[in-house]
Amino acid sequence: MFIAAAAALLISMLFALSRAFLGPSIYDRILSVNMFGTKTVLLIAVLGFMMGRPEFLDIAIVYALINFISIIGILRFFEYTHPPVVNSSEQNGESDS
């Protein structure tokens, strides 16, 4: 059963990977990296159970955290290189979202 779960996760990781290769815009790539990260968290958790050593969960936790940090980092530095073009009225509306 765990093997089936791992295989399913691998398949969806494969999809994400191919989207990261093809991705026409940079945002597609970021999105697929994000999804890839989440799937890796799950895969590591499932693998830990598969090998009967749930200690592996620590790694999954680290991934869940680090993945978030790296996505934020990517977005942050992306704002430097491509500053967003917004007109001020839209910005005011958006900032309360």
């Binding site: 969806s12 815009s25 945002y27 994000n34 799950l42 958790a45 749930p54 955290l65 978030f68 996505i71």
Partner: protein
């Protein structure tokens, strides 16, 4: 009792996997960025939640493991929608247009 737990976790894992695969397929096949994001982020949250709860039913009575799984669940529920939100906003500001059906 044990069989019941097994059956529940089976069901949860299977549905979680199904969601993950559909999400991956959506990410791969959909026509533009926003629809892809829709596919990826929604299935991401629900699918990972299901898988983690399914795993939690499989733990052999070790509460530390369940607690760790709970941590992962909370983190994913926090971070994944947040990241998606930030990403969507950045993309919209950078001038990505939502896809519309060509008539």
């Amino acid at each position: 009792m044990n069989f019941m737990l097994d059956a529940i976790s089976w069901f949860l894992l299977a549905s979680g996997c199904f969601l993950c695969i559909t999400g991956g397929l959506g990410l791969f096949r959909f026509p533009d960025f926003f629809t892809r994001m829709h596919a990826a982020s929604i299935t991401d949250s629900l699918g990972s939640g299901l898988i983690i709860v399914g795993l939690a039913f499989q733990t052999p009575g070790d509460w530390l493991v369940v607690a760790k799984l709970g941590f992962i669940l909370v983190f994913i529920f926090f971070t994944s929608p947040t990241a998606s939100h930030a990403l969507a906003k950045a993309a919209l500001h950078a001038g990505q247009k939502p896809w519309q059906k060509q008539t």
